[in-house]
Subunit: 358 residues, 2 copies
DNA sequence: AAAAACTCCGTGTACGTACACGAAAATACA
DNA sequence: TGTATTTTCGTGTACGTACACGGAGTTTTT
């Protein structure tokens, strides 16, 4: 029943069956040339027939070649601390597979600054990693990088956001449209049909906005399923995060003119804590507030009850999975899932504690 | 920065530093006796000082001793298919660590039949496994088994349910009280303060009922936090699953006498699909329905909207973690977390798809 | 005082793979 | 035909640990 390591076929066995030495088999396995076509063919046949699986323990031990993975992600400080969580997941994965010689070099860049992305990616490429974890926040630049990695034969795993070129081995992230529908479901379930809902997008000049758009799309899609005119009850508000504008000012204009109008507010990203802070400061009657990501800042507002629900993108799991995917590809040489959606977790005050490390 | 396998200290190095041969160090490491106290002490000091970490790859390769883990769990067929999911998680973990010679033997028993538990556990013990995964459904019998394993020095991991003896290395499961609070939160959020709620416990003559009690406790606790008299709005209904009674009959008595009384129903385990089936059959005005576990049976009712929310116990993750915990303990010889709570996942129609394999 | 038993420890080989080195065979070139 | 070159392949060692075997030295037994 168990086909694990007990008495599996070895290189030696193949060599014996083919009437050659182990070295020759090794050359065939590693395409290290200088083997006559006839023997190569014979060996490959035997490998096929006996379903030879290399012993990765012995392999890793003998090779002792380090697998260097590069992670190119925004730094998790300042405005969007989101990215420190994938990093934690990366560490976690590393702990489990460090014996195989896997290491991860981290290259950070600034969310808002495509130049810093390019600089970091240049630096990364000079270290010629065997695999890359890429957060394609800067869409255009990321696409070029992807091409380049493709030319060098470096496998790339996309994390968190997807860009639709085929030249990556996997995408790990969330189904954004669907997550918007989950948010809408929660909103509608608590609010029923009798109030307007404000959708707030904190936008950025630069950087990938796909997430935000798809989340809003999913949110609206859910509402449309109930009534055609319900769409008109969803009011959109875009707030630019660039310094030139005052977020609080805009919120004030929208919310204070008719304080009771909105029964619910849906914030399409992690900046939901900003809205929560505003609501608290102004002492407004509390609308239902739903947003994204269990950041430390938002956590406090959840405990106090200002934020009702958060959708988690499972950032830690994303980091974990991205390393593991490259490990499976590089070390175990196994097929990996092309699109790996992480679950759409609903966080609320009551289950928050058990998500602290997710 | 990276302390992974590159140029780590080896047995040879320790031997050289201690002025002995590698064999002696090996004897000290494995307590295989016949080493003078003085040299043993010296070697241990060096090991300590240099923070020697054995190379588990080389270790596993050289030893080639299989690690046999036994999983003693109810079979996942018939009434409660729950247990097939942990099994899937066990397989998944196995896939990742089979190269280390880890194998899992599965021993099944009948939830309701303590005798079958004892039979299975006897059989298991005759195969003297190096580690045990135990679902302590039969409380008393499990406690004795735990003692016995303790005597034999076999580490045990408890899965899903906890029994409060100290002689296991880890418990993996859910915080049941807290999960009840999550359910209550969802109920209260959708129902506000204006309706009675029915709490249905599907009970069994035998087997561990802790879960159910704690879930109800958490549910009530949440409601008490809002008003002291709210507790009186929570009506409890116990339905025995034994054949002698007719579940549907009891439901009929409770629900049909005053069809509009209950705005919500909370079922404290996976049998929520039974209630959903009943509601559909009778064509009752749909109350909010919340239960546990994403079983195939319940899934269909979620999609149709009869069941509003399910709390997932993440059974697959429980299985996965239990194997991994024993792997860390047995193979890596690392410290493992004593109590490993799995997250309290909220499943709804909209995020259901991404939980299919959790 | 020789034999036996026991304590302490070094040596050697195995685990399965990777890879360097160089020998033998095949081919090319003169 | 002899030499140079290339193709093809076998041998040996290394990776770090586990463990069996047995040698040298010491103590006990007869």
């Amino acid at each position: 029943m168990d086909n694990n390591s007990i008495s599996r076929i070895r290189i030696k066995d193949i060599a014996r069956l083919a009437g050659v030495s182990a070295g020759t088999v090794d050359r065939v396995l590693h395409k290290r040339g200088e083997v006559s076509d006839s023997t190569r063919k014979k060996i490959l046949e035997i490998i096929e027939k006996m379903d030879y699986q290399p012993d990765i323990l012995a392999s890793a031990l003998a090779a002792r070649k380090p697998f260097r993975i590069a992670a190119l992600i925004p730094h998790g400080t300042g405005e969007s601390p989101f990215w420190k969580y994938p990093l934690a997941g990366i560490e976690e994965a590393l702990n489990e597979i460090a014996h195989f010689g896997v290491s991860v070099d981290r290259y950070f860049f600034d969310y808002e600054d495509p130049d810093s992305f390019v600089r970091s990616s240049r630096k990364m490429l000079t270290h010629s990693p065997q695999g890359v974890i890429l957060a394609p926040v800067c869409t255009g630049e990321s696409a070029s990088l992807l091409e380049e990695c493709n030319d060098y034969g470096i496998p790339v795993v996309l994390i968190n956001a997807n860009i639709c070129t085929g030249s990556c081995i996997a995408f790990i992230g969330q189904d954004s449209v669907q997550s918007g529908m989950v948010a809408a479901r929660l909103m509608h379930y608590g609010l029923k049909d009798d109030a307007d809902v404000l959708i707030i997008n904190f936008t950025r000049e630069k950087g990938n906005q796909e997430h935000i758009l798809k989340r809003e799309e999913g949110f609206r899609k859910y509402y449309r399923n109930f009534s055609t005119e319900s769409d008109s009850r969803l009011i959109q508000l875009n707030i630019s995060e660039s310094a030139s504008q005052q977020p609080d000012k805009i919120l004030e204009d929208s919310l204070l003119s008719d304080p009771d109008r909105f029964g619910g507010i849906f914030v399409t990203n992690s900046r939901v804590f900003r809205v929560a802070a505003f609501l608290e400061k102004k002492g407004l009657e509390k609308p239902i507030l739903i947003g994204y990501d269990l950041l430390q800042e938002s956590k406090e507002f959840m405990i106090k009850g200002t934020i009702d629900f958060l959708i988690s993108q499972k950032p830690r799991e994303q980091g974990y999975k991205s390393v593991m995917t490259l490990y499976h590809h590089l070390v175990l040489r196994k097929q990996v899932g092309r699109t790996q959606y992480v679950p759409i977790d609903i966080i609320t005050k009551e289950n928050l504690e058990h998500y602290t490390f997710t």
